[in-house]
């Protein structure tokens, strides 16, 4: 199986381990990923806030590039990238005036043939839990995992799961032999880029998420968003200092958890790149060996 891949800017630097683990896990399942040739940034929230046409023209170019390369399905692991591709695709299909305008801005025409997928719906629907299970060599041994979705399910164009109580990630973690926890902070906001511009707001929000996970006995939090991961992982030290708390909650990408059950290596999955090391809990649960 070959499928298009749109990693996005974060997966090239701060979320390198998301990229590494996805590539390793997909290779294990014999799915080859083909990057959109010469892809560009989706514009993220800044384009959305400051320039409405740009916010659609940037994803439009990626859709054109994907189509030219014959990619009929494209996986975007980053929720923002995914939402922008999918939303732009849908708006262009709906509104031919907008389509004409974007074609003029970008200088090329998108025919509307590229289907956007996020990692979650791709694993659950296109790969299927049976095929996922057949790639496993061990299980998560009942690891207590709080699945954290952030705003993914509510972003424009996204319609893959319940908006307020999503279960896709929980189902996948259950299939891996982990224990998905029932908790009420699955879709609370991590503060997104306010982490840079208004850090104190993000600290308050992330603290509440960590606390809710801890109360439920979470041994780690699973995420599928580079910004969620960064805010939850990187800011724990600042939170502990500011609020005199002692959170040490490893924040793992779902793809890293999958890779562990496929017996892929710690560094191969980029687990050494996480700020809060999951080493201790993974040893304790017998998921990795010394």
């Amino acid at each position: 199986m070959q499928v298009g891949y749109y990693p996005g800017c974060s997966l090239e630097s701060s979320a390198r381990e998301f990229d590494l683990s996805i590539r390793a896990v997909f290779e294990k399942m014999e799915i080859s990923l083909r990057e959109i040739p010469d892809w560009n940034c989706c514009g993220a929230s800044p384009a959305h806030y400051l320039n409405e046409e740009l916010a659609m023209a940037l994803p439009y170019r990626n859709l054109v590039k994907a189509e030219e390369a014959g990619l009929d399905r494209v996986i975007s692991p980053c929720p923002a990238c995914y939402s922008h591709l999918k939303h732009t695709h849908e708006e262009v299909i709906k509104d031919s005036g907008l389509g004409d305008r974007l074609r003029t801005i970008v200088g090329k025409e998108y025919q509307g043939r590229t289907v956007s997928k996020h990692l979650l719906d791709f694993i659950k629907e296109d790969i299927g839990l049976d095929r996922l299970k057949s790639s496993m060599k061990s299980t998560l041994n009942g690891l207590k995992v709080a699945s954290y979705y952030g705003c993914l399910t509510r972003l424009p164009g996204v319609d893959i799961d319940d908006k307020e109580n999503p279960i896709l990630m929980d189902d996948i973690i259950g299939a891996l032999g982990g224990e998905p926890l029932d908790w009420s902070y699955k879709t609370e906001c991590c503060g997104a880029s306010l982490s840079v511009s208004r850090t104190e707001i993000a600290l308050r929000l992330v603290k509440a998420i960590l606390e809710a996970a801890k109360v439920r006995g979470a041994e780690c939090i699973a995420v599928v968003c580079p910004l969620c991961q960064s805010n939850l992982d990187t800011r724990q030290g600042d939170i502990n200092k500011k609020f005199r708390t002692s959170y040490i909650v490893p924040i793992l990408y779902l793809s890293q958890l999958i890779g562990l059950t496929q017996k892929l290596g710690f560094t191969q999955l980029g687990l050494n790149r996480l700020i809060i090391s999951p080493n201790e809990i993974l040893l304790q649960k017998g998921i990795i060996e010394k």
Binding site: A15, N40, G43, Y49, L50, N51, E53, R154, L194, R273
Partner: protein, 186 residues
């Protein structure tokens, strides 16, 4: 309360309707948007107040508030509104109106970040995260903000030093040149 005596009290409501398709007249002031908003403690106007001020045409207060800039666009309000008003989309529209009116924004830090972010895309076609944060902190004259995270992120291989530049970067510059800040409604 001059805005109450203005000739057309529905002026702002109509403008928002035309750029977003959302009608604030439907708002019943139940307060659910504010109750669920994660950022409400830091906002100078609560989300339900924003809708009310549109209803009574107080453009000045709305375009100068910080709320529209610190809204994280998490969409919780939009999902929960019993009248199905897309409140996050209205926040977007207010930002556009504020930019269009060229009035000083209520939250300079957030806009600065967005501008530097877009500049990175224009020059490279992709965002260079390290350069973005450094330029942002310099622009705000706080060069050492979050500096303590630098070494730990560097040793974890999370900071790309050089960044990537796409081949068709000229194409991206063209896209920037051709794009308008506010989409023209037909």
């Amino acid at each position: 309360m001059s805005y109450l005596n203005s000739q057309d009290i529905h002026k702002l409501r109509n403008r928002i309707l035309s750029i977003s398709g959302e009608d604030v007249s439907k708002c019943i002031q139940c307060g659910k948007c504010t109750a669920g908003c994660p950022i409400s403690p830091e906002m100078d106007l609560q989300p339900n107040q924003v809708l009310r001020l549109i209803q009574i045409n107080d453009e000045d207060a709305l375009l100068r508030c910080s709320t529209i800039w610190i809204c994280a666009s998490c969409q919780t309000c939009s999902v929960r509104c019993p009248e199905e008003i897309d409140i996050a989309k209205i926040m977007d529209s207010l930002r556009k109106l504020a930019l269009e009116a060229k009035i000083p924004v209520g939250e300079e830090k957030v806009v600065k970040f967005d501008e530097i972010f877009l500049d990175s895309i224009r020059k490279r076609g992709r965002v260079h995260e390290l350069e973005l944060v450094m330029k942002y902190n310099l622009a705000l004259r706080q060069p050492f903000k979050d500096a303590h995270l630098g070494p730990v992120m560097f040793t974890r291989g999370k900071l790309g030093i050089l960044g990537h530049k796409i081949k068709e970067v000229g194409k991206i510059k063209e896209i920037f040149k051709n794009s308008r800040r506010i989409k023209q409604m037909e």
